[in-house]
């Protein structure tokens, strides 16, 4: 089985290197095909591992070699395929294979075609390192690797010029890429501190050893570990207050948004919390804080999605909101529920993004949903796929989202956090509303695109074919709830909901009712001309539309003072002190060289004399320092 672990891990790397070899060349279709094929190989290997684990319940461990061995610190390149990582592997490789195939069509006219596939496969490799590593150091490498690939891919169209914030809220791809990278660095510092604390107190970074010894530690230490690791998770999973980068990350190509900023990378934070469950289950207070933050983000992000007009940003806020749901589950100790929602969310959110990609393609990269409408007639399959994804996202039976999301609400109710439950319940309604607001504005109603002179067309058949498996999974994945629970709780702690009978039915009914009313409101309002223009004048609309003015606040609060500080450091510190010191030293050396140049007369006789003087000095030294006999 070891070989399947290695194949699953390294096939994307091979693909990335292959495509990378053509990076500077004009488009070659072969790069897209080879990388997709290799990812498919990786997916098959992951599936084989999944079935092997299902059958034998035997965890597969591979140790490649020792990476760092100094003193008492030993960090091996070890990989593990256990119940959690195998679920992540299958999810990641499946979604990324489909996104790769889709990208062949999506990027077909892009001049960076080969480069794109190289980055995308490199991302998958990093993500697999992240989920498969058997120690925190390997996880951190993967963590940084996906951060790097995310930076490369958000800034993929780096040549686009900066625009003012009121024209394009994310300014430019390179700006957005840097924002994402820097915010993640801030969070990664937290994570690194967490790793240091773990190593300091336990003396190892290996999951097995850490989790076996963590309960022996002082509760304050465990709390510190949990808090700092969660700061890392907050950055990667874009939780408040480090959430602004995710919406701006939509500057990248849409397949990237689908794969990285919806399905896989942003869920790494959830994965980290799930993976570190022995730490978090010791500290329920922190868990409650995580859950509270998750619930807050779920509502907070959903509220921003309500009014946004940008197709991709709406879906990005929805991703944020769903990540909040996952953290609620993880924070309340229902780790398998979090993982389950992570998986189903990956399917339907990737589908939603790929659908959005089709729409963007059809509309020449126009993103304003108020310029669309009535696209159902020309893009039937895309529309159907996106409606399926939206239904799944809203949590309507029998779509995948119903099972996972409802479970999270049940967990919140069951653990008697009624306020959290209420927030999530409201969030569910908002989710349904904005999802169908989007559907209504894009696919139904008046054909506004004709006014703007667009000629939409359906995407390539293979792009649709790549979306089909996701659509299928968005429908059926929920029915695997019980085998899934049974499988992952071999590793993760079990969580039983104690609500039965009437109450459970009532809760499900209440949630479904909320979702349906959200859908109903959206359908009714937007089939009757939408809200009145007066609504746009209200303070609440402006607050939501401008993302609670948080990006502006960050700019005033952090970026500008930092800029001033940098200027002082440059003009005062660097130029006056550092540069002057260096120049002074250089001046001394230059002058002494100028003075000493005379020695180099080029005359052999004189040089010989210098040589003999040197010899004399050496002989004197020999006598002076010769050992006394």
């Amino acid at each position: 089985m070891e070989k399947y672990v290695l194949i699953a891990l390294f096939a994307p790397l091979v693909g990335s290197l292959f495509a990378g070899a053509y990076a500077m060349k004009p488009k070659r279709l072969i790069t897209g095909i080879v990388t997709s094929a290799l990812l498919f190989v990786s997916f098959i290997s992951s599936l084989i591992l999944l079935f092997y684990l299902l059958k034998t319940e035997e965890v597969v461990r591979v140790k490649l070699f020792d990476w760092i061995t100094t003193g008492s610190l030993t960090i091996p390149f070890g990989f593990v395929a256990d119940q959690v990582s195998v679920i992540m592997m299958v999810t990641v490789t499946l979604v990324s294979t489909l996104v790769h195939v889709y990208s062949i069509g999506y990027m077909e006219h892009d001049k960076g075609f080969n480069r794109f596939f190289s980055y995308l496969s490199a991302f998958v490799f990093s993500m697999l390192v992240l989920v498969m590593s058997d120690n925190f150091a390997g996880l951190f490498i993967g963590w940084e690797g996906v951060g790097l690939c995310s930076w490369l891919l958000i800034g993929f169209w780096y040549y686009k010029k900066d625009e003012p914030r009121d024209v394009n809220p994310s300014i430019s791809p390179s700006w957005a890429a840097n924002e994402a990278f820097i915010m993640n660095r801030i969070a990664d510092l937290g994570m690194l501190i967490g790793l240091f604390i773990i190593y300091w107190h336990i003396g190892s970074l290996d999951y097995k050893i850490v989790f076996a010894h963590v309960n022996l530690l002082d509760i304050a230490v465990i709390t510190m570990m949990g808090v700092f690791l969660f700061i890392g998770a907050m950055g990667k999973s874009a939780q408040f207050p480090l959430h602004t980068w995710l919406a701006d990350a939509m500057e990248g190509p849409t397949p990237v948004s689908a794969l990285i900023h919806a399905a896989t990378m942003v869920t790494a934070g959830v994965y980290l919390v799930v993976r570190s469950f022995p730490i978090y289950s010791q500290i329920p207070n922190i868990g409650f804080y995580i859950a509270a933050l998750g619930a807050f983000v779920a509502v907070f992000a959903a509220s921003m999605a309500l009014v946004n007009t940008d197709l991709k940003r709406i879906i990005a806020y929805s991703t944020l909101s769903q990540l909040g749901y996952m953290f609620v589950a993880a924070g309340l100790g229902a780790y398998w529920v979090a993982l389950f929602h992570l998986m189903t969310h990956a399917f339907f959110k990737a589908l939603l993004f790929l659908g959005a990609g089709n729409v963007m393609h059809a509309m020449n990269d126009e993103l304003n949903i108020f310029k669309m409408g009535g696209l159902y007639k020309v893009m039937r399959w895309t529309a159907i796929f996106m409606i399926i994804a939206s239904l799944a996202l809203s949590g309507i039976y029998p779509f995948a989202g119903f099972f996972s999301k409802d479970k999270i609400l049940e967990v919140a109710f069951d653990s008697q956090h009624y306020i959290l439950w209420f927030m999530l319940w409201v969030g569910a309604g908002m989710t349904a509303f904005y999802s169908f607001r989007l559907i209504m504005l894009v696919f139904f109603g008046e054909e506004r695109y004709k006014k703007y002179g667009f000629h939409p067309h359906e995407a390539h058949w293979y792009m649709l074919a790549a979306m089909a498996p996701l659509a299928l999974l968005a429908i059926v994945a929920g029915f695997f709830e019980e085998p899934f629970e049974e499988f992952v709780t071999q590793l993760l702690p079990e969580y039983h909901v104690h609500i039965h009978g009437i109450l459970a039915v009532a809760l499900i009914g209440l949630t479904t009712l909320m979702a349906l009313s959200g859908i109903g409101l959206a359908v009714y309002k937007y089939s009757h001309g939408g809200f009145s223009p007066k609504w746009k004048e209200t303070f609440i609309y402006k607050l939501l539309y401008n993302q609670y003015y948080i990006p502006v606040l960050y700019e005033k609060l952090f970026i500008e003072p930092y800029k001033e500080l940098s200027k002082i450091a440059w003009k005062e510190l660097d130029l006056r002190i550092v540069d002057a010191t260096v120049d002074f030293i250089a001046g001394i050396i230059y002058k002494s060289g100028f003075a000493g140049r005379v020695v180099q007369s080029g005359n052999l006789s004189k040089m010989l004399r210098w040589m003999v003087i040197g010899l004399l000095i050496l002989l004197v030294l020999v006598i002076v320092y010769s050992p006394v006999r």
Binding site: R609, V612, L616, L619, V622, I623, S626
Partner: protein, 184 residues
């Protein structure tokens, strides 16, 4: 007794010859005294039971090297004395004298001899030439071959350098061109 007499005699002769070599204004005299000094040095080798080395010394130095010098001097006008702008004598003699003094001082201190172990001890049973042959063609075979190749290379280099056409060599031309360009 014979050894003592021989040592001092040859030491005096060698030193005199070499002093003539380094001080003589005439290159021909210098070369002759150098050749004589070389032969006297071979006497030390015989005294030191290094017969083969002594023979090689006579053949190589007094034979080959001196012949080379003689031929080289034919290329040049050796009768014309090179006008030497000699450096101040004081510095030269001070430096050389100090080095001689220091070297002698260092050498006069007793050497801890029991720490030295002979790797290839000499034996009385076989002659020096035979012993040299055995060591040279076993332990020192590779350096020996390398030295042979080095001599070959040196020979080819000597032939090429001294051949007729070398006064208008490529390197020379480039040199002149550079000088011309510098002048421009």
């Amino acid at each position: 007794m014979f050894e003592v007499v021989a040592f001092y005699l040859f030491a005096a002769l060698t030193i005199v010859m070499f002093v003539i070599t380094v001080t003589s204004k005439n290159a021909l005299y210098a070369m002759s005294s150098l050749a004589a000094g070389m032969i006297f040095i071979s006497a030390f080798f015989f005294l030191l039971d290094a017969d083969f080395l002594g023979v090689v010394q006579i053949i190589v130095y007094s034979g080959a090297v001196m012949a080379l010098y003689a031929f080289a001097m034919m290329f040049m006008d050796t009768t014309k004395e090179v006008k030497e702008n000699n450096p101040p004598k004081k510095i030269v003699f001070f430096l050389s004298g100090m080095i001689a003094l220091l070297l002698v001082l260092i050498l006069l201190t007793p050497i801890i001899s029991d720490k030295v172990k002979a790797l290839y001890p000499m034996s009385d049973e076989i002659g020096n030439t035979e012993a040299v042959g055995i060591v040279l063609f076993t332990k020192y075979l590779v350096p020996f071959e390398v030295a042979a190749i080095m001599l070959l290379v040196a020979m080819i280099a000597g032939i090429i350098l001294a051949s007729k056409r070398m006064d208008e060599s490529i390197t020379l031309k480039i040199d002149q061109e550079i000088e011309q360009k510098g002048a421009e």
